[in-house]
């Protein structure tokens, strides 16, 4: 595999690292949710890339031309599931962030101190 062939993997891992950085070093709750979302996107991209075959067609068995290369269907199913789960977690995280904002009037984690220690 050439560098260009590996580029999607590099990009997806960069996204994951970027997301982790945001999650660890940003103090705003909304930005932390964005961080989680970035990690998730990176991993989804990674899964889709895993199933890619050069010149492959969509893996719909009955419609594919005879003898054509198909991309792998399993990673696509995994990615779809993962996107749905990601939607649920992001929605839940954001609703907790809204509740926290109502209680404390801020989204800065350093000012939300009830549970320290």
């Amino acid at each position: 595999m050439t560098f260009v062939g590996n580029l999607p993997f590099v990009v997806s891992m960069l996204l994951v690292c970027l997301g982790l950085y945001v999650l660890l070093f940003k103090r705003n709750l909304i930005k932390m949710v964005i961080g989680v979302s970035l990690v998730e996107t990176g991993i989804n991209l990674f899964l889709v890339t895993l199933g890619y075959r050069a010149g492959g067609v969509a893996p719909i068995y009955t419609y594919a031309p005879v003898g054509a290369t198909q991309v792998l269907p399993t990673p696509q199913a995994l990615t779809l599931t993962s996107i749905v789960i990601g939607l649920a977690t992001t929605a839940l995280l954001l609703s907790f962030a809204i509740l926290i904002y109502r209680h404390y009037g801020t989204l800065d984690v350093t000012e939300i101190k009830e549970l320290k220690g």
Binding site: I43, F46, I85, A88, T89, F96, E114
Partner: protein, 516 residues
């Protein structure tokens, strides 16, 4: 009856799942119907789990494979298992029994715990969803399904922690826990992707048969280790645990302990069954041991300084995860040479799982009743509860002594095995483990003295409803029963589970792929 026995693995998961989605509808028919329905679902689930255990043990402990959407794992002409399947062996069944126990007791306890509050139906719904997720985690034989069930437990758990939106600390705890759970789940998903990319399969038995121990396998293992240790609440990824256990309602905290143990189960399954001796077991074993020792020490020292009764128990729960990790880490470190004390260590660790869920569960439930009676969670403000609540006093004392590993309670039985077997690997480890127990004893004696003894400080405490007392009494009888007859339970329950880890890899693979 025969068809029921065939389909029982999926029924164990499907029943609470049905309960979760039907609960809000049934609740429209009134409170009594809602309670009866919850009881029915919890009872049925427990029966199915029992039946699953009976089926497995009567078949001599050979793994049961249940294929969804087909009869056989391999459609003709394929070498890769493509169907989704559940695979049940001694350890899975052991964990399923734990989940069934805490699920049924949590439902029983919640009946009167939630009497005067609204939202009971949604609470039931989330509780059943969490229980279904835990069952799924321990029964699945497929890596991706494992990730899905992990996320189901995370979402349901955080819903349960944070649904009391009027409390400041609930939302805060829920956000923190959700962020860490999600991160843990994503690390697991990345590892699943790495394994799929190399071997083209997601089935655990298939992966176990093909793992070569390559560089990518090691990276995947590191990701799984980090993700699952985070889920289990091992130091240094424990910071969510006190918040989760402390802010969740008491019965939920008990189920969350079982949920953490499911994370630990997954860790053991992956280490022993998936990877096995394909990697340098000694190094990985020692990583587990170091994490375990840190978990014990951090757990007990943090428990020492808490004045909030639920957070105090929560840190106790964190330290107990350390004991299980320590024992199984010792077992894994010596897996290559297989001395007898390795198996003993694993037996101790697995036995401690059910003991821990019984005594920590008892303490959380007792704390729920104490907070309800005293109207405060602050130990300094509580006092003299023993005057009015004699039964609760005895139950709390039983739980506290069991957790600290005092004979004749169950915590002593399993901790003794852990001390003995870890001593064979390194005496220092046994000393740390004993020290941890001694500090825990001090912590809980102080808590007991502050809450129950002395003059009344909060006026006359109200009675504890009988359903709450009954569920605590069941746990207390387990605590005492397992403490008095450890040999019997180790023989019947723990030995098959430990055996599944110690030398069950070939049988696990063979059950799906044939041969072996």
């Amino acid at each position: 009856m025969n068809a029921l026995a065939t389909h029982v693995p999926i029924l164990v998961i499907a029943t609470p799942l049905l309960g979760a989605f039907a609960a809000p509808l049934i609740a429209k028919l009134g409170r009594t119907t809602r309670v009866a329905f919850s009881g029915l679902i919890a009872g049925l689930t427990a029966c199915f789990a029992g039946l699953l255990a009976a089926t497995l043990y009567s078949a001599g402990g050979q793994p049961i494979v249940y294929v969804l959407g087909g009869r056989v794992p391999l459609p003709s002409g394929l070498a890769v298992p493509v169907r989704i399947m559940l695979e049940v062996d001694g350890l899975s069944v052991f964990m399923a029994l734990i989940a069934a126990l805490v699920g049924a007791l949590a439902v029983l306890y919640s009946v009167s715990y939630w009497k005067e509050r609204s939202g009971g139906a949604l609470y039931d719904s989330l509780l059943f969803l969490l229980i279904a997720g835990v069952f799924g985690l321990v029964l699945t034989g497929d890596m991706f399904n494992f990730f899905v069930f992990l996320e189901i437990t995370s979402i349901a758990a955080c819903g349960l922690i944070g649904f009391r939106a009027w409390r400041k600390r609930s939302s805060e705890a829920a956000f923190k826990v959700m962020a860490l759970y999600t991160l843990a789940g994503l690390l697991v998903l990345l590892a699943v992707g790495l394994l799929y990319g190399q071997y083209g399969g997601l089935n655990m038995a298939f992966l176990a048969a093909n793992l070569s121990g390559s560089m990518l396998d090691r990276i995947a293992l590191a990701l799984l280790l980090a993700g699952l240790a985070m889920k289990a609440g091992a130091v240094p990824m424990h910071m969510w645990a006190p918040e989760a256990y402390g802010e969740a309602p008491a019965p939920v905290a008990m189920v969350l302990v079982a949920n953490s143990q499911a994370g630990l189960y997954a860790l053991f399954r992956i280490l022993f069954t998936l990877y096995g001796v394909a990697l340098s077991v000694t190094a990985i074993g020692w990583i587990l041991i170091v994490m375990a020792v840190l978990t014990i020490l951090v757990g007990v020292t943090m428990a020492l300084v808490q004045s909030d009764i639920k957070r105090l128990i929560a840190f106790g729960a964190v330290s107990q995860i350390g004991y299980m990790l320590l024992a199984v880490g010792v077992g894994f470190a010596v897996l290559a040479t297989r001395p007898a004390f390795g198996l003993a260590a694993i037996q101790g660790g697995i036995f401690h799982m059910i003991n821990d869920v019984a005594c920590i569960g008892l303490l959380f439930l007792a704390a729920g009743a104490m907070v309800r009676a005293a109207g405060t969670r602050n130990l300094n403000a509580m006092g003299g509860l023993a005057h009015d609540l004699k039964g609760l006093t005895v139950l709390f004392a039983v739980g506290a002594f069991a957790l600290a590993g005092v004979p004749p309670f169950n915590g002593f039985a399993s901790k003794l095995i852990i001390y003995e077997s870890t001593f064979r690997l390194s005496p220092v480890l046994a000393i740390v483990a004993v020290l941890g127990s001694i500090i825990l004893l001090a912590v809980f004696l102080r808590a007991f003295q502050a809450a129950f003894l002395g003059p009344r400080t909060v006026g006359e405490a109200g009675r504890v409803p009988w359903t709450m007392t009954l569920s605590m009494a069941v746990l207390a009888s387990i605590v005492i029963g397992f403490g008095l007859f450890p040999g019997f339970f180790i023989d019947k329950l723990v030995a098959p589970a430990a055996n599944a880890l110690w030398n069950g890899q070939a049988a696990y693979i063979g059950a799906v792929l044939g041969g072996g």
